[in-house]
Symmetry: C2
Subunit: 360 residues, 2 copies
DNA sequence: ATGAAAGCGCTAACAT
DNA sequence: ATGTTAGCGCTTTCAT
């Protein structure tokens, strides 16, 4: 009986002798399937990987056995042996100051879209939270062989750390702005154009004093602000310095800044916000102050999150194509891993006109 | 020179002879570190795991070497050898009909909170999208040894599949309603109480014809509706049958249903929605129809997503404590894995009173 | 068409 | 305090 040779337990070290061990039924492995099917491990392995070498009959028997016992090849052992990895690391940074609150609905939706794109391509997603200022540690996902590459959600203020990661050959794709001197691959929207179109739209509606809400120390917001300036220049309207309001993407902080603006003595009749959350917060603050949107103040946001079209008034905004974004990031990463060159990609940023900027 | 014995490359099979191989610099491994440090693999391994057996001096040298070369122990090999797993599978189901759109901001936020809780506990998160009606396949994450257990975001209509998973000993925690005859562990809000409080609040404000918006074929919504009935019973008010509006958590579908309600001839003066997204969509539809909130119709939602307090009017709602939820789910799963018994947990659901239900 | 055996990168018992 | 060696669960050459 050649097959039963190894049927006696032969586990070497490790705590197989602890009290708990009797409770946990030893997990099924290939050897068990092979034994039960009366074949060798090699045959069982081949059967499960649909290797044509094994006869149809045997293959069917082994497959059925595995299925009925809920056996699935151990992924860790398999990838160790095959030296291949199907897991992509996705890093969602957090800033200390925001007490780890999960950033923006847009980022969250982006994660959903990446997850979907990965699933479509037979890849896994390992999601980790990393402190913004320790972004370099994202490379460990790759160094440890846990991930074939890394996608970072947002550039934050870490251009240098990201460049360093790319410099040491960590396959890397970042959601954010395309910057000069950049070693890593970005996927993002055409922020300048988006900012320009949004602002132009407000100017076209006759607005002259347009506030910009966003933190221009972050590259994406900075580019959107560039677009804002561009539109002003094109129309020969001089932007009002005091109407550049610095606020992060956090709704609570935005609310405070907007309250200051509303309470202040600088007049304004339009708002271009660097994100939909900021825009909605602004509208809410305006209305609470008794101002009407869009009659008194026209508002345009950026992102086109799901909620934007269900807000009241519905929010005019620059759409970032979320589904396309997830796919583009995943494809870029897989290109890099395959040794192909991945070029930074700017997705089109188009204006979605809704009630919050209706001429009136 | 005992250490250099194995220094010549000795890789056996697999395509090390392909064209690409020259491009990819062979990834560093423990053997390399050991050789460079002039010690054996065991010593190197011990040094990196801070084993006190190895001398302070050697440990420092090896650690520094590893750090400077960005070497990190291969996670796959390590967990294979250690027979331990630090990865938790998180499953975000999707329904075919909704074209894979990522569900609700609440679910997304929940994922963020789970990610944070896992990071805090030194665990990893593997995120996967699974078709709602193939939920059982979530078990493969466990069967393949990819995850030490599974967290499922939402019960959907798959009570039986979830029970089956639990029955075959897959460590499992589900976000959702606590149901009778349930074999799996749930974490969720006290939906009945939440629904009761929300409705009671509307009744207290003098509302008599309160619409319920939600899909009561989903357990969570069903329990919230139970609370709605309970509150009515307690006040001796008879709920209006025609005001139970069936709509999923999808905003677009909700909008259609609400439009019908608004356009219909059944009068109502209050709305209790099974989610904030539904509530906001409802408010937006009401306002577009020229109705005032809360003067004409009072609205209370469920979830307390971030946007709720920045909506206009700010949204009264039942808070589900998201951060606590993530921690509770992770802790419950780790309990199960450790062989401890995890009891289903109902988190408190408290009313957050804001403008949308102000007595008026 | 099937089996025996080597080894993926690592750790820990068992040597010294 | 350090080294030798077996083996985690699997796949694949090499042999039959």
């Amino acid at each position: 009986m050649p097959h039963s040779k190894k049927s006696a337990p032969k586990r070497t070290d490790s705590g197989a002798a602890t009290v708990v061990s009797s409770v946990r039924p030893q997990r099924l492995q290939l050897a068990d399937i092979a034994r039960l099917a009366g074949v060798s491990m090699s045959t069982a392995s081949r059967a499960l990987s649909n290797n044509p070498l094994v006869s149809e009959k045997t293959r069917g028997r082994v497959a059925e056995l595995a299925r009925s016992l809920n056996y699935t090849v151990n992924a860790g052992a398999q990838s160790l042996r095959l030296r291949q990895n199907t897991t992509v690391g996705v890093v969602l940074p957090y800033s200390q100051s925001l007490r780890r609150k999960v950033s923006d609905p847009f980022f969250l939706a982006l994660i959903g879209s990446i997850a979907t794109a990965l699933t479509d391509r037979g890849k896994e997603m390992l999601l980790t939270r990393v402190r913004e200022d320790h972004l370099a540690s994202a490379g460990q996902l790759y160094d440890a062989g846990r991930a074939l590459g890394v996608i970072v959600i947002g550039q934050w203020h870490q251009h240098d750390q990201l460049n360093a990661l790319a410099a040491r050959q960590v396959p890397l794709v970042v959601w954010g702005a395309h910057l000069p001197q950049q070693l890593y691959c970005t996927v993002g929207s055409d922020n300048v154009e988006g900012g320009r179109v949004a602002t132009q739209h407000l100017l076209d509606a006759g607005r002259k004093r347009i506030a910009f809400l966003g933190d221009i120390s972050e590259p994406e917001a900075a580019q959107r602000y560039d677009g804002y300036l561009k539109a002003h220049a094109a129309c020969g309207v001089k932007p009002v310095d005091k109407l550049r309001i610095s606020t992060s993407f956090d709704a609570d902080e935005a609310r405070v800044e907007i309250a200051k603006l509303v309470g202040g003595r600088t007049k304004f009749d339009g708002i271009f916000a660097a994100s939909d959350v900021i825009a909605m917060t602004a509208i809410s603050a305006l209305m609470q102050a008794g101002l009407r949107v869009p009659q008194d103040v026209s508002v345009v946001g950026f992102d086109d999150i799901e909620m934007a079209r269900h807000y009241h008034p519905s929010l005019s905004t620059i759409r970032q194509p979320i589904d396309e974004a997830g796919e583009a990031m995943v494809d870029a990463l897989l290109d890099i891993v395959a040794g192909r060159k991945a070029v930074p990609r700017q997705l089109p940023a188009v204006l979605i006109q809704r009630e919050s900027s209706l001429p009136g």
